[in-house]
């Protein structure tokens, strides 16, 4: 048996070790964030947001890529939310277990683990080549929709399961059918949580690069896409292009950091809204 002092010393040592690890990580993040801000804040202005890239992407702003990213997010969410919510509804309200439900669950879970570049290959072969959409906003958006599907399914299933059983019983007792109960009772009470889940998956989708690289992201496009069948510039891919194939390194350097800041602000801003909304919902539901 070790002495009490030795055990206490070990305990203090462990505590300090864990505190130091956490502090080191926080410090590292703060340093990197500061460095990026220091390099990029010079170009940040309202014009940087509202101007398209110009002069072979050595000057101008990030307007077209930013709008392109928003368009991609919109297309992907329009496709993924209805399908994802319906699938979540099935798992939570209709499925009674069994082999088939297990298979559906297994596939959703495997889908969540598929590398993003594989989604790119999938989007290329299904939407671009097989369905003849070509490399465009629609193909890239649908590819991103497939990628975000597991997130939305899981989020909406949790949302439906969190609706108290009493609500359903009360609705049935009033003579409502299952469909009426779902559309008028379960769905409205689950909606805020589902919307929160959707916001969080927007945060995930907006930063993805690999799935859109060969399905619809443009190296450069002079204008914002006006139809779903035209190529779009996207902020993450734009950053990649700026970093790897710039014609004038010194001129693009501040623009690179500026674009990074805009992307981070967009993604983290959207995610923070989602996280905060979820925290509020959980507090309201008393969990």
């Amino acid at each position: 048996m070790k002495s009490v002092a030795a055990r206490k010393f070990k305990d203090t040592l462990a505590t300090w070790f864990f505190c130091a690890a956490e502090a080191a990580l926080v410090l590292l993040i703060v340093c990197v964030a500061y460095f990026i801000f220091r390099e990029g804040h010079g170009v940040l202005s309202w014009n940087f947001i509202t101007e398209a890239p110009s002069d072979g992407m050595t000057s101008g702003g990030v307007f077209t890529p930013l709008i392109g990213t928003i368009q991609l997010v919109a297309v992907s969410m329009l496709a993924a939310i209805p399908i994802g919510v319906a699938a979540g509804l099935y798992f939570a309200e209709y499925s009674s277990g069994g082999r088939l439900a297990d298979l559906l669950r297994l596939s959703i879970r495997s889908l969540a683990g598929v590398p993003s570049v594989i989604f790119g290959l999938f989007g290329l072969s299904l939407f671009v080549v097989f369905m003849h959409f070509g490399s465009c906003l629609l193909s890239a958006g649908l590819t991103l929709a497939c990628l975000s599907l597991p997130l939305i399914v899981t989020a909406s299933e949790q949302a439906f399961l969190a609706v108290p059983q009493d609500y359903r019983d009360a609705s049935y007792a009033l003579g409502a059918t299952k469909w009426q109960t779902i559309t008028r009772v379960v769905l409205p009470s689950a909606a805020p949580t589902i919307i929160t889940g959707a916001i969080l998956s927007i945060g995930r989708v907006a930063g993805e690069t690999a799935p859109i690289m060969f399905t619809g992201a443009a190296y450069f496009a002079p204008d914002v896409a006006k139809s779903v069948f035209s190529q779009v510039m996207a902020l993450p891919y734009h950053i990649y292009v700026l970093a790897t194939s710039s014609t004038d390194v010194n001129a693009t350097r501040p623009i690179q950091y500026g674009a990074i800041i805009v992307l981070l602000a967009f993604v983290l801003g959207v995610s923070a809204v989602g996280v905060a909304a979820r925290a509020k919902l959980e507090a309201r539901n008393g969990r």
Binding site: L104, S110, L111
Partner: protein, 334 residues
């Protein structure tokens, strides 16, 4: 006992009556699809035909996951296997030369596979200990208020796009490594692994923290009551209790790092050779696909070879995914 049984019976009886009443009301409301037909339906106990149609539609839509998964595998196989016509399987898996655009093309993927495995291993060695330590800190040591802050920070950190990390590797870390170690290029295995390690910290830490938090309070109380210090309680009671959750989280982290594309594309250097030290540049499967797919004509040998690389990647990923599910199930059974 008997009293209890009665109560249960009573409740079921009541529920049956209630549902019966509901069926009647619903039948009237549903009109033509009314009460008479309700008996024929097997799945939904009451409600009109509309209800059944809705149920069927919901089911059909929910198969989207399986369909997408099937399509992914089908396309990878259909577009990847033609590569075998050109080169036999063993010379793809064990060949040292990756010159897909030469005539004749050399499709040896061993350097790519080795690059993927090396980056995954090294990044796990770097990232997993940090992530698990952070999870322990957040779940067991941090005061309650700080815990919420850290959980939120971890979650937001998980949203940082990988392109940003790749950019940091290329523009900040690479020059730093190059100067510090006096090497030809800072874009190498170490650079990519550091960033991949950083990438997997949030997801592994969050999931492990959940596993640690779900260890019952009573176990900790019992340990403290026996006179154990906090560190003893953590290392001998809480962590063993959360082991399966933490292993599964680590496997998911490894899967993330294995499938990550942008970081290795930008920071790993991209030389298709077997890495001999951590300062050697590598070219993992993911970055090969991302870098070369844009420039290759649809349907050529190179195109098929890249899909075959995707197939290899997919097989490894699915294997790790299944393993993590198995670990979780084991843990749940205990």
């Amino acid at each position: 006992m008997s009293h209890n049984g009665d109560a249960v019976l009573d409740k079921t009886d009541w529920t049956v009556k209630l549902h019966g009443a509901a069926r009647l009301v619903a039948g009237k409301e549903a009109g033509p699809g009314g009460p008479g037909r309700g008996n024929k339906m097997k799945r939904s106990s009451f409600g009109g035909r509309g209800d059944l149609i809705a149920a069927r539609a919901i089911f059909c839509i929910s198969t989207a996951g399986v369909i997408i998964m099937a399509f992914i595998i089908m396309f990878l196989v259909a577009n990847g296997l033609p590569a075998l016509r050109e080169t036999p399987l063993h010379s793809i898996l064990l060949g040292f030369d990756w010159y897909p655009t030469e005539e004749p093309p050399a499709l040896g993927m061993l350097p790519l596979i080795a690059g993927t495995l090396a980056a995954t291993l090294l990044s796990s060695l770097i990232g997993l200990p940090v992530a698990l330590a952070l999870a322990v800190f957040t779940a067991e040591i941090a005061p309650k208020k700080l815990r919420e802050v850290f959980k939120m920070m971890m979650e937001l950190l998980g949203f940082v796009p990988s392109i940003v990390l790749g950019f940091i590797g290329m523009q900040i870390l690479a020059p730093a490594l190059q100067n510090r170690f006096n090497i030809a290029t800072g874009l190498n295995l170490l650079n990519a692994s550091l960033l991949l390690g950083f990438l997997i910290i949030p997801v592994v830490a969050s999931l492990s923290e959940e596993a640690l938090s779900s260890v019952p309070r009573e176990l900790r109380d019992a340990s403290y009551a026996l006179g154990a210090t906090r560190w003893e309680t953590i290392s001998k009671v809480v962590v063993p209790g959360a082991k399966s959750g933490m292993i599964s989280a680590s496997l998911l982290g490894m899967m993330r790092s294995l499938g990550e594309t942008m970081i290795v594309l930008m920071a790993a250097g991209g030389a298709a050779v077997l890495p001999k030290s951590i300062m050697d540049p590598i070219r993992p499967l993911t970055s090969t696909i991302a870098a070369e797919m844009g420039e290759t004509p649809v349907g050529g040998v190179h195109y098929h070879a890249l899909f075959f690389a995707g197939l290899i990647l997919m097989v490894i990923t699915l294997a790790i995914n299944l393993l993590s599910m198995l670990v979780e199930r084991r843990g749940a059974q205990k």
